[in-house]
Symmetry: C2
Subunit: 253 residues, 2 copies
């Protein structure tokens, strides 16, 4: 009984961003495991068992998937965006690390996906055209002191910053703390963008600066991008604009 486990990135939403590799793993699966909102994107068919679960129970989901694969099933765990970025790949390997030793002999594949960060950048122009970093603002699994240390480093290193998990309905103070820290260390005119539900019908792009961004607009579906000292606006007609972080660097600070 040789089962298999694939951790598959669906991309940020629309089918046009799902790779052929992701599609072929889903077609070959006997079981698909994931957050119910992501499972909605997988077509129903006979002989595909669906294991939907709520949000925030990644570890439980990983265990379900590993047990099924160990029983000889061909299991796909789905992630939005790329599974390696603040998503299911880490959960599955954490479960393998501390779990049944036979899990280390399983056939495990990670299938990369278009990450939210790249989709948002594409929508905006070329804001990630130069060195950048990605930071999750969730302090559920890491202490706030670590997040703070990384925000300081990101500002001092003059990276473009992509903030993942910037806020939720309940988790509001983190985004305010993060911005007050960034405001104390970066030019207040730095371009900032809130990108909500990128690629979906209800996509919304809010352009602002570090000084005037309305943080109440940041929700769970948002990715927040903060420019480096080099990030510039290319104005188009009306309110339309592109963002550019050029490849060359002029020392400005």
């Amino acid at each position: 009984l040789n089962g298999s486990l694939a951790i598959v990135g669906l991309g940020p939403g629309p089918a046009r961003w799902m790779t052929p590799e992701a599609m072929s793993f889903i077609e070959a699966a006997t079981d698909v495991v994931g957050y119910e909102k992501y499972l909605d994107r997988i077509p129903h068919r006979q002989n595909l068992i669906r294991h939907a679960s709520g949000n925030g129970i990644e570890q439980e989901r990983a265990l379900v998937a590993l047990r099924l694969a160990n029983l000889g099933r061909h299991v796909v765990v789905v992630s939005g965006g790329d599974p390696g970025i603040f998503a299911m790949a880490a959960s599955v390997f954490e479960a393998i690390e501390t779990g049944d030793p036979t899990w280390r002999t399983l056939d495990v594949t990670v299938v990369p996906g278009i990450s939210a960060m790249h989709a948002v950048a594409a929508r905006l122009g070329a804001p990630l055209g130069h060195d950048f970093c990605a930071i999750s603002l969730s302090d559920i699994l890491k202490p706030w002191t670590v997040i703070e240390r990384r925000l300081i480093a990101a500002a001092d290193g003059d990276f473009v910053i992509a903030l993942y998990n910037p806020a939720s309905k309940r988790r509001r103070h983190q985004i305010h703390q993060a911005f007050s820290l960034l405001r104390s260390r970066k030019d207040l005119a730095t371009p900032v963008t809130i990108a909500r539900s990128v690629g979906h019908e209800n996509e919304q792009i809010i352009h602002a600066t570090l000084a005037d961004i309305d943080l109440e607009q940041v929700d769970m579906s948002s990715l927040v991008l903060i420019g480096s000292s080099q990030t510039r606006i290319i104005q188009r007609s009306g309110n339309s604009r592109w963002l550019l972080t050029p490849r060359h660097y002029s020392e400005v600070r």
Copy 2:
């Protein structure tokens, strides 16, 4: 005459990583512009004019593409990986910024792709499972002092680090300087991986530590990943291993 310009990410190589959106833009194009190695991946067909060019002339390539689009052609500029990461999107928007004002009215789309970073991470397990940054080691367009400042910030912020453009045949001292700096600020046992030509037939993965990595193995086709203090090895049978940067953080330094 309404032309268009799409800057399309082909992913790191194999067709299984090229999105349906990328394929449909290529199918609808009248002209495809790009580095000759990437153009080799585009099937020949009638009515598709191919504008191949050598490496290192991104700005010239961007101008060719913009002029063609402005003449009413449907132009695709191809990039390996994701076009927004150290690739053609920045070149095109740089050209727009300083070029013919009518270029700002062009229909421009950036089509995201699977980035080398995500493909390498998928191949290794979940090394980017937590906060990370991407730094290009090329000092052709930015001063070395900026790179050094960012390496210091990345080490002090305890990010996982992805090094793009780590070296070429001629550009050798940068990778040595970068590692001597990182060795002075990070645990010498930190996992380091050289990933060469990921997804291609000649793919090669070299696992090492910050102390013992052989920098002579780093070439133009390499992406170098350096762990955070949290990055761990999950040993499998033989020499096989996975890398994991878990979602939770235990303070170790």
